[in-house]
Structures are given as structure tokens and as C-alpha cells.
């Protein structure tokens, strides 16, 4: 756009994270529909009388007014559009949402064109909030995110020899970004076997609209296998461990352990 940068801009944004700056200020990382990921300064938000603090928490869709600054824009007003209370109310949904936020943050570069990512993230958060299966929401978001950023995984043909691969004979190669056929996998140290059903469901998630893919019922075991494969792939793409992915698993383990105990107690009561 030619001409001067406007002094003040309005934009919607999803708050991805923040870090502290000095005594009471924060640097807030926002994912915006038109400017991609940007860091902005929010002054005085750590004071209890701050009029913006509560609006600039991660996992909030906000409308912000930004004053153009020399290095970073400064937030002058913030108003919550959507705070996703139904996500906050449940640890499985909340941990899944934290994972989506971390993915969106790690996979984007500041100011880089990230058109569509804001909508992808918003849609996924809305789905989590209304109670869609967390596994389905996370896996479809991962696949859509990879597609939008140019990392679309190859799930049907071998990455080496380009021959179609049957799900039963496929090997999972996270670093290469998809599947290998059995003979090519023999020469690849990093490839691992992948469960055929897990791969078939991932293929369905990649090729079908969400409304159809979302109807597939996943057992806990199948969901865990898909999660393991996709976490390995995401780790290879962002080139680091995703702490939130581990937290998703830890939260689920704690739930399963708790339920197991409850069931054991129930069984005792029955005796």
C-alpha cells in the first residue's frame, strides 16, 4: 500500500501468548486476519486497575486498537469478542487449545503473510468450544495448518519412489513429511511403522470436508496412535519439542488414571 502507514489501526486478533516487559507491561503475540502474526506492547496490563489486562489473555479473540510505534505497535484499546469459556471449563479442551495456540505460534514467522491461519485457528477453537471431539479438532487443524503453510504431508504415495502405498504397507517418516513404501523405508533410519487404520483416518481427514471427517468415531487407542504420529510430524516441522503436545497427553493420562481409580472404587462398592 503506497503512502504513509496509518497512525492508528483497528484489527481483530487471537492472543497467542505474552511475555513480561518491565514492571507492569507485556509483549503480546497476536494472530491477525490481515497482518499475520505480530508482537505488540500492552502497557500497564499487570496492574490490577488495568482496563485491558483481562482482554489480552491468550485464547481470546479480541478487537484491538493499535498505535503505530517505532519497533512495535502499542495497544491503546482492547475489547473481548470471544473468550471461549466452554474451552476454559474443561482441561482436555483447554490443553488441546493450548496446543493449537503453540502450533500456530511456532509455525508462523512474524509479519509473514499468514492469510487464512487466523480463520483456521478461530474455527478450530469454536469447534473445541462447542464440544467436538478434541482429537478430531486437533488432527484436522494440524493437517489444515500444514497445508496452508506449504508443509502438506504426503499420505498416499511414497515420498521416495512416488508409487502409491497401501495403508497396510506404509511406514511413517516424520522428517521427510509423510509415508514411505516398505522397500524404501528399509533404507531410511527414521521411518517407523504406522497403524493402517490410523493412516486411513488421517487420509480421510486430509481429503474430506470436516463435516464428513468429523463423523468418524475414534477409539481412545486409535486416537492415541494418530496423536503419536502427528505429534512426531509436527515436531519435525517446527524443529523443536512442543511442550503443549506433551501436556495434552499428560492431562489425558491423569484423566484415565482418575477414571481407572473411580472404576476400581465402584467395583469395590459393588462387592
Amino acid at each position: 500500500m503506497p503512502g504513509r502507514i496509518p497512525r492508528v489501526t483497528h484489527t481483530a486478533a487471537i492472543v497467542l501468548r505474552y511475555r513480561r516487559l518491565g514492571e507492569a507491561d507485556r509483549i503480546i503475540t497476536l494472530l491477525t486476519p490481515t497482518r499475520g502474526k505480530i508482537d505488540v506492547i500492552a502497557k500497564g496490563v499487570l496492574r490490577s486497575k488495568s482496563r485491558m489486562g483481562g482482554h489480552l489473555e491468550p485464547l481470546t479473540l479480541v478487537e484491538v486498537v493499535l498505535a503505530h510505534g517505532r519497533t512495535m505497535d502499542v495497544v491503546t484499546q482492547a475489547q473481548t469478542i470471544e473468550a471461549f469459556p466452554d474451552v476454559h471449563a474443561n482441561l482436555d479442551r483447554l490443553s488441546a487449545a493450548m496446543y493449537l495456540l503453540e502450533l500456530a505460534d511456532r509455525i508462523t514467522i512474524e509479519h509473514a503473510d499468514a492469510e487464512g491461519l487466523h480463520d483456521l485457528l478461530h474455527t478450530a477453537l469454536v469447534r473445541l468450544a462447542r464440544g467436538d471431539g478434541q482429537q478430531v479438532v486437533q488432527r484436522t487443524f494440524e493437517l489444515a495448518l500444514l497445508e496452508a503453510t506449504g508443509f502438506r504431508p504426503e499420505l498416499t504415495t511414497c515420498l521416495r519412489c512416488s508409487e502409491p502405498v497401501a495403508a497396510e504397507e506404509a511406514w511413517w517418516a516424520p522428517v521427510e513429511g509423510g509415508v514411505l513404501c516398505a522397500s524404501c523405508a528399509r533404507t531410511d533410519g527414521g521411518a517407523q511403522p504406522i497403524d493402517a487404520t490410523a493412516l486411513r483416518v488421517l487420509r480421510a481427514f486430509q481429503s474430506q470436508p470436516y463435516e464428513d471427517a468429523g463423523r468418524i468415531r475414534l477409539s481412545d487407542e486409535l486416537a492415541a496412535r494418530m496423536e503419536q504420529a502427528m505429534h512426531a510430524l509436527m515436531r519435525a516441522v517446527v524443529e523443536r519439542d512442543l511442550k503443549s503436545a506433551q501436556f495434552v497427553s499428560a492431562a489425558r493420562r491423569a484423566r484415565v488414571a482418575g477414571e481407572g481409580l473411580d472404576e476400581a472404587e465402584l467395583a469395590k462398592d459393588d462387592e
Binding site: M52, A83, N90, Q246
Partner: protein, 210 residues
């Protein structure tokens, strides 16, 4: 003594520059404040500087984690944990040692504490295994424990909520009541500017006017 240079325009290796640099590394201290502090020390009596230096060294040498509550203390178990007048049925779980001081200032809590030393924050690379959660579980699994309620007093933000819910999930199977600090409007707040979550909680947990 300073190879003829002005001692107040320190070179990179001068003692003044080292002191300024050391202050600058402290949280919330900018370059100007660091210089002001350094020159204050220069102008002060040597005894005052010595006192500061001794205090700094002593705090690093003598402060340890309390074996029970994991708070920072000069002796373990700490004063609060050994105080016989405190209610042993209640443990308040906080993020940081400073939060213990904040709650003590209210004079409204007479139970024990447990300091997590952080909060689950994936974006900063902190997971549950990096906190003092295992120590809390060990404390509660102790056969002699009298604890009946855990008050989770983590901050009311995304990380604090996630930590509180995760603790709730871990502790409920132990048959212990897990509660969370109430959330609402701070003193002196303005409804017009309150965020939706806070205002919603304030409405949900409204109280009878007495």
C-alpha cells in the same frame, strides 16, 4: 589508576562497568537505573556496600527449599510448616514464594502452603514435570497426612487455570477436596472496562448483600 580515563565513563572492563552490568541483569532494571544504583553504591560508605555484598552471598548460601512446602527458607522445615497453631487440614498451593507473602499479608489464612515454583506454561517450555507437583503428591500420600482440602491459588490466567485443573484431576482420586480461589472484580475496578470472563464469574459467584 584507571589508565588516565574518566572513572565515570567506564570502559568495558572497569569495576564500575561490571557493577552497572550486574544491576542491569536484574529484573525490571534498565540501563539508566543500573547506572544510578551503581553510582549510589560508589558514593555510599564502604560498610553499606559490604552489607549488601554479604547479604547477597548469604542469601545464596543459606536459603534452601523447605522439605515440606518447598518454599524458600533458611531452615527446613520452615517456620510456617513447624508452627503448631496452623491448621494442618488446609494446604494453599501457590505459584511462587512471593504469593505466600501476599496471602500471609491478608491475615485470612491459617493453613499450610505448597509452592510449585512456576506454572504449566507450554509457550515457555514449562510442563507439569518441571514443577513441585510430585512433592505435593508425596506430601498428600503420606500416611500421617491430615489434609482435607487443597486450595489452588494459582493466578487467574490461562496457565494458572490449566495448572489448577490439572492438579484437580490428579488430586481428586486421593479423596481430597480441591478448591480454587474465587474470581471476580478487583477493588476499585470499573464494570465498563471489565473483561467478559471476569464479569461473568463475578455474576456467577455473586453474594448476598448483608
Amino acid at each position: 589508576m584507571n589508565d588516565g580515563r574518566d572513572p565515570f565513563l567506564p570502559g568495558a572492563s572497569s569495576p564500575i562497568a561490571r557493577l552497572v552490568e550486574a544491576f542491569h541483569r536484574l529484573p525490571g532494571i534498565g540501563p539508566k537505573s543500573a547506572q544510578r544504583l551503581a553510582y549510589h553504591i560508589l558514593r555510599a560508605q564502604e560498610a553499606e556496600a559490604q552489607e549488601l555484598a554479604d547479604a547477597l552471598v548469604e542469601v545464596k548460601r543459606s536459603i534452601v527449599f523447605c522439605a515440606q512446602c518447598q518454599n524458600l527458607t533458611s531452615r527446613t522445615p520452615c517456620e510456617i510448616c513447624t508452627d503448631a497453631s496452623r491448621d494442618r487440614h488446609l494446604i494453599c498451593v501457590v505459584e511462587e514464594p512471593l504469593d505466600v507473602l501476599a496471602i500471609e499479608r491478608t491475615n485470612g489464612f491459617r493453613g499450610l502452603y505448597h509452592v510449585l515454583h512456576g506454572v504449566i506454561s507450554p509457550s515457555d517450555g514449562v510442563g507439569p514435570e518441571d514443577l513441585k507437583i510430585a512433592e505435593l503428591l508425596a506430601r498428600l500420600r503420606d500416611v500421617e497426612t491430615e489434609v482435607a482440602e487443597i486450595i489452588v491459588a494459582t493466578n487467574p490466567n490461562l496457565e494458572g487455570e490449566a495448572t489448577a485443573m490439572y492438579l484437580g484431576r490428579l488430586l481428586r482420586p486421593l479423596g481430597i477436596r480441591v478448591t480454587r480461589l474465587a474470581r471476580g472484580l478487583p477493588a476499585g475496578a470499573d464494570l465498563e472496562y471489565a473483561d467478559d470472563v471476569t464479569l461473568g464469574r463475578a455474576l456467577e459467584f455473586r453474594q448476598e448483600v448483608t
